[in-house]
Amino acid sequence: MTLTSKPSLTPSSDPAGRRTQPHGAHPILRQAARIIDWPMSWLQRLIGERRMPYVFLLPNLMFFGLFVFVPIGINFIYSVTGGPALFPSERPYVGAGQYAYLFDCASYVDPSSCREDHFWRGVFNTLRFTFFQVIAMVGLSLLTAIVLNMKIRGRGFFRAVYFFPVLLSPVVVALIWKWILQRDGLLNAGIMALDGDKILFLSEPGWAMFWAIFVSVWAHMGFYTLILLAGLQAIPSDIYEAAEMDATPRWRVFWRLTLPLLWPNLIVVIVLALIRAVQTFDEVFVLTGGGPGTSTLMVVQYIYETAFSNQVQNFGLAAAASVVLGIVLFALTLTQLAFTQRKSS
């Protein structure tokens, strides 16, 4: 049995590197193990031991390739072709035409100077949304996690309460909040009860963006709180006891101990929140429809509408925009990897 020659490849081995036998195993199981073993041994002899890990990766790689890499490739093909046809073979090649159209701007800081101004409005809205949402999300999640990590009464109940919205579908979340925020909604009823005037929360650009961010934070905060809470609980308590014995002020403990030790979790939370914010679509789409005007139109909604809502379904332009979005998300992921690698090294 060649597999036993290297201890690292055996499922369990004694200190001398010899394969341990499953003494208690049923004879049928032992027989089955032999049946599985012989083609593997034969394959290993044929291709060599060093190539064997790739054999085990192959099925997963094929699955991944089929459902991830092939669609990415098809999307790229769409982005360099034009016309209304669906099948790539029927679509005329336009080269970088779709990209050139997207990036045709007199000034990149003024969306109205761009030929495809909706794309740029979506980009700017997404950036604005991401900036404020990530700050609010990470800040509030951290605060909540710290409070939930304290020895307070009903801690389990509060942990559940903050996690409940995560279990809801984003569409349900948006519909609940739409019901609260509409003209005759719960919030306006409260304002009226206090002798105030009704506010059109979803029809004023500033308010609409505020509520889009608020609802998004409300819906997803529990998930990030959970990650940070796990990080906080992994910090050894004797460090805090030592700090207490030294009479270190609380803010200093937080700044010098908690935050540095929580940093790997915070990086994960920040990057995950960033990626999710850039991809935001469903809850904002249901809540505001991208309006008023285009004040809450996100890049993903632009891609969806360009590809599906218009009478001329412009798959090429939508694909080009999604390639751009994909590059941004890839850059964010690389940033996360760089940060976490640096931290672990």
């Binding site: 505001t288 309006g291 008023p292």
Partner: protein
């Protein structure tokens, strides 16, 4: 033992008969959306069809209107469509429709009964194909909450009143009864053009190509813009969503928050059912502008899809549903303006409708005679949704304060040109 064998034998025989029957039966899939009760009516009619045609089974897939406009075209482009579909964007899906003529027993009946509307389902240059029939003819027009006018003690403008007169009256009423929406116009291209054509919008140039922004169009856009500024219209409709999204005010109208609601005849069925005796509502003729008093026609057609494997069976089903008696029952029970010339001429009784629904149907039916040629041409134009979408998207931006009207006009022209060029890429 003998009994068991006999039972087994009978079961085998029954199973083989069932298999044989199932093999002989053709299943047709029909994708359908409903504005009111027409899905139920269609189910009834299909059940009767199946009783008379044992070799055909029809599966009615009921989907939302959004799925018809957004998902179905992609499905059709991929060659995966149903056998039949009820569609509203007739020009947009015309290239996927099957010409039923070779399979129809009496193609002349379709020409006689649905002739002008068949043109809406044809591609440019095609003058003879018959892909289906109109399940309804719709017409845009205003619904008025008469009770609010009475409560405010304001007289309703007469039949030839202008849009401005209606706007003023509606604002007076809303101020007196504290209604939040004096005038509501659906965020829809059809609704906007029912206003624009009365203001003199021509939409096309002499060559028949789109020339959307002209003086008539600008007058209408200015009216909508001003009405949002001076409180005749609320931002909650046109200003509350982005891009090409449709936004209606039927819920607000049903809740008596709207004084005058510009929508379409397909709302009659649901208003009749949901408003009931809560308040009096009436449909009134389309207000007039300097050019005319025309509404915009539209409608939904049941069409055969090119990829069907059973064109003969599809033709049989369409012939049954489009036959005068069956179509009459469908229009009557669903409270639709008939998309059948003979029935329109004859007039329908609408036995199940309330007196106010009957009166509304009469107003809309009469409105067909008022239609401007521009309105008919726009409805029949294959790329009309390109125009509609560009208009609502850009005017929505002006209402939200993101762009001026002049900027919107330039963008509308550019959007229409770009999208039509994209469609023509081969």
């Amino acid at each position: 033992m003998k009994g068991t064998k006999m039972l087994l034998g009978c079961a085998v025989l029954a199973a083989s008969l069932a298999v044989g029957y199932a093999q002989a039966q053709t299943t047709l899939r029909m994708t359908w959306y409903s504005d009111g009760n027409e899905g139920e009516v269609m189910s009834d009619l299909l059940r009767r069809f199946e009783e008379q045609n044992k070799d055909i089974k029809v599966v009615l897939d009921q989907v939302p209107f959004k799925a018809i406009n957004e998902n179905l075209p992609v499905q059709l482009a991929a060659g995966q469509g149903p056998d039949l579909a009820r569609v509203a964007d007739l020009g947009g899906v015309a290239r996927y429709m099957l010409d039923l003529r070779p399979h129809l027993k009496d193609a002349a009946y379709f020409e006689t009964s649905f002739g002008p509307f068949l043109e809406w389902m044809r591609l440019p240059g095609d003058t003879s194909s018959i892909p289906g029939y109109m399940t309804q003819l719709t017409l845009t027009g205003p619904f008025v909450n008469k009770t609010l006018f009475e409560q405010a003690n304001v007289a309703m403008p007469g039949p030839k009143a202008t849009w401005e007169e209606w706007a003023k009256a509606a604002k007076d009423v809303a101020a007196k009864v504290q209604a939040p929406f004096p005038v509501a116009i659906d965020r829809s291209g059809h609704r906007f053009f029912s206003l624009a054509i009365t203001q003199g919008a021509k939409v096309f140039n002499e060559k028949g190509e789109p020339a959307v922004v002209d003086e008539g169009f600008k007058k209408a856009a200015q009216l909508v813009f001003d009405w949002h500024k001076n409180g005749v219209m609320s931002k909650e409709l046109w200003g509350s969503v982005a891009g090409t999204a449709y936004r209606g005010a039927n819920d607000e109208f049903k809740n008596a928050q709207v004084v005058v609601y510009e929508s379409g005849s397909w709302q009659i069925g649901q208003f009749d059912k949901t408003i009931g005796a809560d308040f009096d509502w009436v449909a009134v003729p389309t207000p007039c502008g300097p050019a005319n008093c025309s509404g915009m026609p539209g409608g939904a057609a049941l069409v055969a899809i090119k990829t069907t494997q059973h064109p003969k069976e599809v033709a049989r089903l369409v012939e049954y549903l489009a036959s005068e008696k069956v179509a009459e029952e469908f229009y009557e029970r669903s409270l639709f303006v008939p998309g059948h010339l003979g029935l329109a001429k004859k007039g329908l009784e609408y036995k199940a409708a309330s007196p106010q629904a009957k009166a509304a149907l009469k107003v809309f039916s009469d409105g067909v005679a008022q239609l401007s040629p521009v309105a008919n041409k726009l409805q029949g134009y294959v790329n009309n949704r390109v125009i509609f979408n560009a208009v609502i998207s850009r005017l929505g931006q002006t209402i939200a304060g993101e762009a001026t009207l002049d900027e919107a006009y330039k963008r509308i022209t550019a959007d229409v040109e770009q999208q039509i060029a994209e469609r023509n890429k081969k």
